[in-house]
Symmetry: C2
Subunit: 325 residues, 2 copies
């Protein structure tokens, strides 16, 4: 199948037209480039992330999960910036022309694209080892994008969902055991927290997605905001699958596991009362796990002792995170 | 080296700040996404293209050439759209941490980025088989982007440079012979025709880059414009290295060779007088090679005979072209 036909077919399956309004894809698939109208008063947010077969997912992962996740990791970055998804560009490198694989892959991607209203506006198909590079474009009102740089002393540190799920699924599978269903869902079909990102625009002082692990990514916030944090380990929201595991077993997974597409963000204490409402509106658990301090990162157990994590973050070689850097 | 450090280092080497003015990178490398200001009245042009080691370039290609070309093929797409380069995002997948390789690669990319004024605004580093996916963002005054769809009967068909150079270099190398220096330059350090693309905005009725081969890419213009063309084979501008080759030897290379980052475009005959001036201003050869007809694509030799090319275009498997489709 020719490159042109293949991208067209992807578009037919994914089939998200423009949302209308001032943001418009004037020239789409089938030219040397796409031409896009950016509404006045809005800023463009651009995220790019690659997933490589055998590195970011096992070679035998279902095609639908690969299609979903390749897009999800980019949408998660848009969510962390508080942006509304608009268009995406997909560069797909694959070793052989396999119609069934492509169809399942496109279906997986289409499901998420439809749910989130992001339009496939261009792409590129190459022959080679399986790898998918997606560049996602989002829009945000001028000056409202969330960054990693605004956390202030006294702010609360909040995390969405139950970090550690994806890492636990990986661990169980590596041990030849059947992972918990929710954990597998977190690993293979992560839900980008777009609605939450939108709500946080007016409220959060900093935000990041924790694809590289909670500790490593919170570390980026601390570094770029020039602050520190103290976390209460007993407040760390726990996946059901790890509820009976002792701290020494579950905390490393939760702090450094990575591949969880949850958001970690900071808010002024005066905004804490809004968390419950946002949690309900976005159908996602939100938990205050600590607060911002002057400097350093301290983890405290329930009895007030310092907990020293054995692992700093989630980075095997150039492990691609979901970050722009 | 951590992903973050590596992209930062690439930025240090490439080091193109914002051009200033209304187009501005407000948040760059080091957050989940880049935040960009798009000037009012301008449209965004987005191109994406991947080059894969062993597919788009031999494994032993110099790192500087790989860095240059990965960016050049995307800039060539911006040129074909008549867009001004603004920012690019680089997803680099590489098998091992090799400082010398990275340094040369970054230098090759930096040279072209500086010449063309495009800023590295984000990226992603992964471990895996060598592959570079670049997404380039350009700007164009609203409604002025060049597309493939506007060619009209009677228009002249024009090509820049001397198509066939890159293909001839590949052929010589495959035969174990030393390629011509200009041909190697065309293959490894192609010059995106950005100045030409800018000049054509107000003049061309359609435009494409001929990375997939002149015939295949002109075919896209004809299909999307709903027209045909007649080309005069004796007018095809010839690389010096092929000047003494008979038509049957050089024409297939020139028509279907691919990997030449020249532009093919159509103009109304009344604009033909401007070609010489544009050619001088842009320091690139421009040659009228035929004209647009109602339908079909006819190639005529000097004695009026039809020439039947044995090859339709440049597409081995999913050979990635420099097109958005």
């Amino acid at each position: 199948m020719a490159e042109f036909d293949l991208i067209r077919r992807m578009q037919d399956i994914i089939c998200i037209p423009d949302g209308g309004g001032a943001a418009k894809c004037v020239v789409g698939i089938g030219d040397d480039g796409a031409v896009l109208d950016i509404p006045d008063g809005q800023q463009l947010v651009v995220c790019t992330d690659t997933v490589v077969g055998g590195v970011h997912f096992p070679a035998d992962t279902a095609a639908a999960a690969i299609g979903h996740k390749a897009l999800a990791v980019n949408l998660s970055d848009l969510a962390a910036m508080g942006a509304d998804p608009a268009w995406f560009f997909m560069a797909l490198t694959l070793p052989a022309d396999n119609d069934d694989w492509l169809s399942d892959y496109a279906d997986g991607m289409a499901g998420l694209a439809k749910k989130t209203g992001i339009m496939l506006a261009g792409g590129d198909i190459s022959s080679g080892p399986l790898s998918i590079c997606i560049t996602a474009l989002g829009l945000v009102e001028k000056g409202e994008a969330l960054t990693r740089a605004g956390a202030r002393k006294g702010d609360l540190v909040v995390v969405s969902g139950t970090p550690g799920s994806a890492a636990n699924a990986l661990r169980m599978r590596a041990a030849g055991q059947a992972p918990d269903g929710n954990d597998m869902e977190a690993l293979e079909f992560p839900v980008p927290r777009l609605a939450l990102g939108r709500k946080l625009r007016a409220m959060a002082t900093s935000c990041i997605d924790i694809s590289d692990g909670l500790l490593a990514d919170l570390g980026h916030i601390l570094e770029q905001s020039g602050v520190g944090a103290e976390l209460a380990m007993e407040n760390l929201p726990c996946p059901a699958s790890l509820e009976n595991a002792p701290g020494d077993e579950r905390w490393p997974l939760q702090l450094a596991g990575g591949d969880d597409y949850e958001l970690c963000f900071t808010i002024p204490p005066a905004s804490a009362w809004q968390l419950e409402e946002i949690s309900i509106a976005c159908a996602v658990e939100l938990t205050v796990i600590g607060n911002i301090t002057d400097r350093g990162l301290v983890l405290k157990t329930a009895n007030g002792e310092h907990y020293e994590p054995g692992v700093a973050g989630y980075q095997h070689f150039y492990q691609a995170g979901a970050e722009n850097s």
